[in-house]
């Protein structure tokens, strides 16, 4: 199977206090130096010429100046065969997106934009440390559409401290009103190493009550189903035919080639992580030709369990026979006791492929960990 391609642009306007991605405030950073290293990595570890999907993520790939965006997109595409039908996503943030930048994206064949909207209430945008306003989301959305890109995702965050169900439904309604093709709705997570996490440790911030969060999760599904979106993964909703093919590849445990600081690759059954630190990344690429600092290869049932855990996140689920075939084990037999137990608990549906029940999705981690 041909790997998909991911490229990481680690710059943002400012660092959001809840974010644990490998991203840095752009101020004072050597963007050109980074792009040169990225180009060198693409040279020395060439991507497959015909990847099924492309995804530029970050950070905020639209934070660099237009000519810098033009440069890295050109550097990437130079090494690939053109394919207008291929899904080509770029992440963007309201605030830093301009008509000029959208034009650069469109000129390179970008056909999908994922906008970090997060909330349509300025109050919550402030809590989240976002530097844009609700009004700017709508402007950015128009810019993308006007630029001829007709496949747009909005990222939204719920379970923000101080947010109640009404607030969240308001944000959902605003998002629905824009008619994007895709919506990603994440519950806020206090990830270790983030400022939010530290604040919570010190008792300065509190996670939302579990019942409230659960209610938001349930209402999201209802509201969006009625408006024509289908939940196809725990956090992902799409209009018919508009699911994100790139992300589905991750959930099907399919291969990908990642470039840039902190990017991961999964090639020939081995998952390798790049150095996260920008200068060390550049040095490693220059000295060794790659920047891998971690390697992991799973065999047999552990690999199979991983495929199951990822696949169960989607509404399509996983077929045990094909998992078994792929990883060379008798998955039916190996996982039969777990499957039986989870079915008895009402967490897995009956029949093939294996799929979670609605109740199962709420406790997906409990379900997945049963296989590991």
């Amino acid at each position: 199977m041909t790997p998909t391609v991911y490229v990481h642009i680690p710059f943002c306007e400012t660092k959001c206090p809840y974010c644990d991605f490998n991203s840095f405030a752009v101020q004072g950073r050597d963007v050109d130096g980074y792009l040169a290293a990225l180009s060198e990595e693409l040279d020395r570890r060439p991507p497959p010429p015909d990847p099924p999907t492309l995804f530029i993520g970050g950070g905020t790939p639209t934070v660099p100046r237009p000519e810098q965006i033009d440069r890295y997109l050109g550097d990437l595409l130079r090494r690939l065969r053109p394919d207008p039908a291929r899904e080509f996503t770029v992440e963007a943030n309201p605030g830093s997106l301009t008509a000029e930048k959208v034009a650069v994206l469109a000129a390179h064949g970008v056909n999908r934009v994922s906008l970090g909207a997060q909330s349509f209430l300025d109050r919550h945008l402030k809590t989240l440390g976002r530097v844009h306003s609700a009004a700017q989301i709508e402007e950015a959305f128009r810019l993308v559409r006007d630029g001829g890109i007709d496949n747009v995702n909005l990222d939204l965050i719920f379970a923000v401290p101080g947010l109640d169900l009404r607030d969240w439904l308001y944000t959902l309604d605003c998002a629905v009103a824009l008619q994007p093709e895709h919506l990603s709705c994440y519950a806020l997570i206090f990830e270790p190493g983030t400022e939010f996490h530290a604040r919570r440790q010190r008792g300065l911030m509190h996670a939302l009550d579990e019942e409230d969060e659960l209610r938001m999760f349930r209402f999201t599904e209802r509201r969006l189903r009625h408006a024509g979106w289908q939940r196809y993964e725990i956090s992902a909703f799409a209009r018919p035919g508009k699911h994100c093919r790139h992300n589905l590849g991750y959930w099907r445990n399919e291969p990908y080639a990642g470039y840039g600081a902190g990017a991961f690759s999964y090639l020939d059954g081995e998952r390798c992580g790049n150095e996260r630190h920008l200068e060390r990344y550049a040095r490693a690429v220059h000295e060794r030709g790659d920047a891998f600092v971690s390697h992991e290869r799973l065999e047999g049932s552990r690999a199979a369990a991983e495929t199951i855990f990822l696949g169960l996140r989607t509404r399509y689920g996983v077929r045990l026979d094909s998992v078994g075939e792929r990883h060379g084990i008798d998955a039916q037999r190996e996982f039969a006791p777990v499957v039986t137990r989870l079915r008895e608990q009402g967490l897995l549906r009956r029949g093939e492929p294996l799929r979670m029940t609605r109740r199962g999705w709420r406790v997906a981690d409990t379900v997945s960990s049963a296989f590991l």
């Binding site: 997570i189 725990i234 992580g273 991983e306 990822l310 709420r362 406790v363 409990t366 049963a370």
Partner: protein, 599 residues
């Protein structure tokens, strides 16, 4: 050798007053160990002794001095090991009673001094650590005078650390401690005062020869067991075992006689010549009985054989703890073990874990109980589940210990409150001068096994010390506190408690469980009950939500590892019905810190 060439003495004191350090000094001064061989507390040879800086097992050394032979025995200071002291006393005519003069007289100072006097030993009081800037020799002296009746001019002053005054100690040993009595020409009789186990040679018995002499090749009989063996080796401690040709009357040393396990020897037994049918046993002493019991289980059930091997091995070295297999519905197969006291329990457990590499789950400790059944039968109860139904119990008795607590007078109030809360009965209060009080209470042993010592320490700002001895069993209003998880009694969590306390204790256990049992896919009811009467209940609500929002290419490995960890945690849980209970829950039940915080 003539009897008057020997001086046999031990060093006794409260914990950490410097017994082992003084022994070091004496070994160096008499040239038994050279500076090069020397290390601090050289007689503390076990790893655990060296790590914890305490003596657990008594050990002996022979010192040549001024043409005489001095046999020294270093003893442990901790109350759980006082049986080691009491055995050692039987091999000696005198004892150095050491007092750290920065601390003054403490509980084991008094307890060990009484024990030595009772055994007929000559006491030489020694103030140690006079080099310390905080030393108050005057206060310590006053306490020795007021509490134990010593006159100021018989008290020596030393620093075991710097060596100051050590010559005076040697001189006092020679002059004040009487030489042994006995008949070198009579048939051999020796008191077996201790034993240890050696992987190669089997049991090594430690003896004090009373009459006659022991030598290689002779056949000896152990009078209590009737076992007859040939002596393979006799020797002395220097401090390592060193074979000698003969061990004569008055001397202290060891005998190797082809004994395979410690079970075959009785400490306190008498050795005599196999042909001497008229041999009378010397009055020995009673082996201590275990008073505290707990279940010991492997954290992972498959480690049971490993654990068994470790327990059997340890038992070879320490016959004072008992064990037999038991099983628990919640914990599977394990062992019920008996210990001399809480520190002994802790130490055995640590040695087991260390030596076997098996992680251990310990159940709540309980003491031995006596039950008089309605049919007149008396039974001993070592675990709550052995308890007969309440309608078959005529009388339920628990062990009572006479507890002596030494402290500065300003702590008396706090200590009395503590003792009253713990169902104590006041016995008496005595002053050792104006700075020290001895408070004596009879307390149920069950009340002091878990945390009493810590509480005493905090009530006296660290100055209080305690000692206790069993005085007997007493009828008491005890009940079995049952702990139920989703309606099923968890045997490993159930405990025996005083009725008045059961309600509070039940709440504590339930709260501890609520904090440690993770939520599961269904509600879990927790109950504490006596018989069918529920005293406390709590519910752990079903898990409602457990889902990571994001999972993309970059986080797959990390997320998977997090989930694997969740799962790993689960594997080590024990199942009661369909409820998974983590190991911490069993330990949390033991932890009474919460209760303390409330006070």
């Amino acid at each position: 050798m003539r009897l008057d060439q020997f001086r046999n003495f031990c060093i006794i004191a409260h914990i950490d007053h410097g017994k082992s350090t003084l022994a070091d000094r004496l070994l160096l001064r008499t040239g038994v160990v050279t500076k090069r061989e020397f290390r601090d507390q050289i007689l503390d040879v076990m790893d655990l002794e060296r790590e914890r800086g305490i003596t657990i097992k008594a050990s002996a050394a022979q010192l040549p001095h001024a043409g005489l032979t001095l046999n020294l025995i270093d003893t442990p200071g901790h109350v759980d090991f006082s049986y080691e002291v009491s055995r050692s006393l039987h091999a000696c005519e005198g004892a150095l009673l050491l007092v750290d003069c920065a601390q003054g007289v403490e509980a084991q100072t008094v307890a060990n001094a009484y024990m030595a006097v009772e055994a007929g030993l000559e006491l030489v009081p020694v103030l140690n650590k006079i080099d310390l800037p905080g030393a108050r020799p005057d206060l310590a002296l006053e306490q020795l005078q007021a509490g134990l009746g010593f006159s100021p001019d018989e008290v020596l002053r030393v620093s075991a650390k710097t060596g100051e005054g050590v010559d005076g100690v040697l001189q006092a040993v020679v002059e004040r401690i009487p030489p042994p009595e006995g008949d070198p020409d009579a048939p051999v009789r020796a008191l077996l005062y201790d034993a240890s186990y050696d992987d190669y040679r089997g049991v090594i018995t430690y003896v004090r020869v009373l009459d006659g002499e022991l030598k290689k090749g002779m056949r000896v009989r152990f009078l209590a067991t009737g076992v007859v063996r040939e002596v393979q080796e006799v020797g002395i401690f220097q401090p390592k075992p060193k074979a000698v040709a003969t061990l004569g009357a008055g001397n202290v040393g060891y005998v190797v006689a082809n004994i395979k396990t410690l079970k075959d020897v009785h400490i306190g037994d008498t050795l005599a010549s196999a042909t001497d049918d008229a041999a009378e046993p010397v009055p020995g002493f009673k082996e201590p009985q275990p008073l505290v019991f707990c279940g010991i289980y492997p954290a992972s059930t498959q480690d049971i054989q490993e654990l068994r091997r470790a327990i059997e091995k340890l038992h070879l070295n320490d016959a004072s703890f008992t064990f037999h297999p038991e099983s628990s519905e919640a914990l599977g197969f394990g062992f019920r073990c008996g210990f001399l006291g809480p520190l002994h329990m802790e130490i055995v457990q640590e040695r087991l874990e260390r030596e076997s590499g098996v992680e251990i789950i310990q159940t709540a400790p309980n003491v031995t109980y006596e039950v008089l059944r309605t049919d007149g039968q008396e039974v001993r109860i070592e675990r709550p589940s052995e308890l007969p139904e309440s309608n078959y119990i005529e009388e339920f008795r628990e062990p009572i210990v006479r507890t002596q607590m030494l402290m500065p007078p300003d702590a008396i109030g706090a200590l009395m409150t503590l003792c009253n809360e713990r169902r104590g009965k006041f016995v008496k209060q005595e002053y050792l001068g104006p700075t020290r009080v001895i408070l004596t209470y009879d307390l149920p042993l069950a009340e002091i096994v878990v945390d009493f010592y810590d509480l005493l320490k905090s009530a006296t700002r660290g100055y209080g010390t305690m000692d206790y001895e069993l005085v007997g069993f007493q009828a008491s209003d005890l009940v079995r506190l049952r702990i139920l998880v989703s309606g099923t009694e968890v045997d490993a969590l159930s405990v025996i408690h005083h009725r008045e306390d059961a309600q509070r204790r039940g709440r504590e256990v339930i709260m501890a469980l609520r904090k440690t049992i993770p939520r599961q896919m269904f509600d879990i009811a927790l109950q504490a009950a006596i018989g069918g009467k529920v005293l406390a209940r709590e519910t752990i609500k079903a898990l409602r939500k457990n889902v990571t929002a994001k999972c993309y290419g970059g986080d797959v490995s990390r997320k998977r590892k997090l989930l694997e960890k969740q799962k790993e945690g689960k594997k080590r849980m024990r199942h009661v019905g369909n409820v998974a209970i983590p190991q911490e829950a069993f330990l949390a039940v033991l932890d009474r810190r919460e209760e303390r915080k409330k006070k």
